[in-house]
Structures are given as structure tokens and as C-alpha cells.
Symmetry: C2
Subunit: 132 residues, 2 copies
């Protein structure tokens, strides 16, 4: 939390009461803004504020933004968590994390192309153990 505070201030941002609560609603597991609003709306926080705070967090590397199959963005807490990938259940919508080592791919692309990779996304869609 202190680190987040510093990171924000260093860039001229402020850690307001609302942003602290939005940060608290973020988890390592990706959530849509709609899902986050279930917690945040009762606290009087507007969804516009959430969108703006999330954009700020993503820009600072505090949160990650991923697109799943439902045309909506999902946000996850990055601070302190290792890079990982996702198992997304088509039935219940649950999202689980899984660590995979993708260095081979990154190296291969560097060798084959001149593309400069900034980030990547690896997602697996299917059925979780419960839904099969």
C-alpha cells in the first residue's frame, strides 16, 4: 500500500479515499468493472471514478487489464504477484491462475521477427473441474 502511495505521488497522482477502496476491491483474479461495482457502489463510488482509477493503476503497472470473450475488460491486481496466465471457464465464468514459463516463445519471436514485445496474454478457455 505504501509502495502504491509512492508510485502514485511520483507521477503526480493522488491516493484518495475512493482509490484506496478501488484498490481494495482489486484481486489477483481478473474482475469486470460490473463485478467490482457490487462492492463499490454501496460505498457511494461512481463507475466513472472506477474506470478512471483503473486506467491510472494500469498505467502505473499496479493493475493489469485483460480482455476475455465477453467484450468486457477485466482488471487484476498485479502488485506483488508473479506473471501468470488464466484458465477461464466458459460455463461458470470462473478465472483461475496458472504459472507457465513462456521464455521459449519470447526468444523464438525475437529470433524470427523484429517485433518488439511489450506484453503478452495467454488464456485458456474451457470447462473447470466443477462444470465438466
Amino acid at each position: 500500500m505504501l509502495n502504491v502511495d509512492k508510485t502514485l505521488h511520483r507521477q503526480g497522482y493522488r491516493l484518495t479515499k475512493q482509490r484506496r477502496q478501488i484498490l481494495g476491491a482489486l484481486t489477483p483474479r481478473p474482475q469486470s468493472v460490473y463485478q467490482m461495482m457490487k462492492t463499490l457502489k454501496p460505498k457511494g463510488i461512481d463507475k466513472v471514478t472506477v474506470y478512471r482509477a483503473l486506467a491510472c493503476f494500469v498505467q502505473l503497472g499496479i493493475a493489469g487489464k485483460i480482455q476475455l470473450d465477453d467484450n468486457t475488460a477485466h482488471y487484476e491486481l498485479l502488485a506483488g504477484s508473479k506473471h501468470h496466465h488464466h484458465l477461464i471457464c466458459k460455463s461458470c465464468g470462473s478465472v483461475d491462475d496458472i504459472p507457465l514459463n513462456e521464455k521459449l516463445f519470447l526468444n523464438k519471436i525475437r529470433k524470427l521477427t523484429k517485433f518488439q514485445i511489450q506484453r503478452h496474454a495467454l488464456e485458456f478457455f474451457g470447462l473447470c473441474a466443477e462444470c465438466q
Copy 2:
């Protein structure tokens, strides 16, 4: 084209003039509906028709639907093309294909979890050679 015709009919769908043209607008490289409409609108095809045809093609495995970072769906022609992955330029928006062998990952997940994988998406975001 004949195969597509058969595939459609087998499921009770029809290959209409419009669908033939929508199919013709699809490429192995993912495009948004907006991009496809540049070709299709002049031919008098409504975007609702395009959405409905694409949903049909995706269901039959003729087309693939992927989500990029811009909150819009992109569609690619799958028929006859090998499974591949994407290099997406953040600057110019170009999408290039790259083949990678992900069997190691699929096997690892099968070993580690009970998740039943139906499909996966692997995308690399960054800068293409021209935009660096």
C-alpha cells in the same frame, strides 16, 4: 467454399449471397466488423447481417473470434489455416500471425489441473518493425 456450403447446410443454415460475400471479406488476419464493413457496406450489406453471419461461422468453426485490447471483437478465417498466434502492434494496429508450438503448455495444464481446455489464445502486444 464447397466445404463451407456443406458445413452450413448440414446444420440447417443457408449459404446466401450475403454470407458468401461476408466469407469473402474474411481473411486469416483478424479484422474488426468495422474494418469488414468498409468492403461490405458498399455492397448493401447491413452490419447486423454481418454480426449474425459471423456468429454462425464461428459456431461452425469456419471463423475465429478474438478479443484484442480495444474492446472490439476481431474475426479471422480459420478454414484451411493452421492454428497460430498474433503479434499486435500498439502503434499502427497491424496484426501479424506467428506459428508457435504450445503442446508443452497444454500437456502441463493437463497434468497440473482438471481443467478441460477447449481453446486458447496467445497474443503478443508491442511494436512492429515499422513502428519502432
